[in-house]
Symmetry: C2
Subunit: 189 residues, 2 copies
DNA sequence: TGATTTTCTTGATCGTGGTCAATTGTTAAT
DNA sequence: ATTAACAATTGACCACGATCAAGAAAATCA
């Protein structure tokens, strides 16, 4: 499956776009590679577009002092942005960092606007953004569930993350100390 | 200040719309009143539009068993929606309930689309939605700060909420037991 | 107005999960 | 291959905040 068809597939899942529309979209994409540890976005910068991950993975986190708080992980065939910064066009407080060598394609906000102007169907791209919100589910989970329950939830929603990302980052995402995650896992064997 | 000018004001904060555009927008609004305890949205329903609160206040929460978890409060002169449900057009898992007698104006999603088709400027309304996201700040706060810190944060971000909404609901929003919030407050006098 | 329900406060208890520390395991670099 | 840096595990400790319970205060309703 080619890079372009991956992206077209993803678009078609949100709306039955015509071939011409898909080509208008993909023709505006900017392809980039990020080495592991390289940044797609740093705190202080303004998010300029929406990025599709062709291969690899990235991590969204913020920093207070030298403590990192992992907010989300993104893996291949998903869309990615710092939504708050993108929509407000104000500088982000977050970092988006390649966890592995990553290949990606970005559509700039201005091109998105051009597409919406000329092809009203592209309004539906708002749906792309849905996955980028911090879901109420995740927040509810953090507020009400204990570490065991949160781990089991992740086991069902993103089992792949667990043997892909380091445990201390997973723990941070789950809102618990790394030692606690380690013990939760030990309890299950 | 009239209801219409409140809404126009709010729109002008996101984008310099022309008077004609503002009128096109306000002409499509649906005005509604909600009595205290009445629901704007119930779990299982699909969010059909974005609502501006003219007066009163509402609470967004979800329910597991008979336990309510407060996700957000909304007060006059702000926009409101269940964003996940609105964008995906799938049934919501949340409730939006009037906390006080509330007067509001709703723009339906289909009208929003019509406006975007005919006036590209209305694309910028995405900005309206920004305030509706669960902010990464709130999530970070819940994950990393203790009850005292979270209370102080709310004191600076939404001091008005504290003498407007019941403490047990505030406590739920802050992710702590009502007794804990009571003690946090006692400690400050 | 008084009666009933709900919310808030305060106390006492207890368990969970964070922190600190030491050890082992893994990864990365030269 | 060796070292260094980092990640994961395990144990010991204890503080924070949840829970339970009872009484006071406030809000709601007839």
């Amino acid at each position: 499956m080619t890079d372009l068809s991956k992206i077209k597939d993803s678009l078609l899942k949100t709306h039955p776009f015509a071939e011409e529309q898909l080509d208008q979209f993909t023709g505006r994409l900017i392809f980039q590679r990020f080495n592991k540890r390289e940044f797609l976005l740093k705190s202080g910068q303004i998010s300029k577009g929406i990025t599709f991950i062709l291969s690899g993975s990235l991590r969204l986190y913020n920093k207070t002092g030298d403590k990192e708080l992992t907010l989300n992980f993104f893996t291949e065939n998903t869309w990615l942005a710092d939504l708050e910064s993108l929509l407000t066009q104000q500088s982000s407080t977050n970092y988006i960092e390649a966890f592995e060598d990553t290949s990606a394609a970005t559509i700039m906000l201005k091109d998105l606007h051009w597409l919406m102007d000329n092809y009203p169907d592209f309004r539906m791209l708002n749906k792309l953004l849905t996955g980028l919100h911090i879901s109420t589910m995740h927040l509810a989970s953090i507020k009400t569930k204990n570490p065991d329950e949160r781990y089991h939830e992740l086991l069902t929603t993103h089992p792949d993350w667990l043997n892909r990302f380091p445990q201390n980052q997973i723990a941070s995402y789950l809102g618990m100390a790394p030692e606690t995650l380690s013990r939760v896992r030990a309890r299950l064997s």
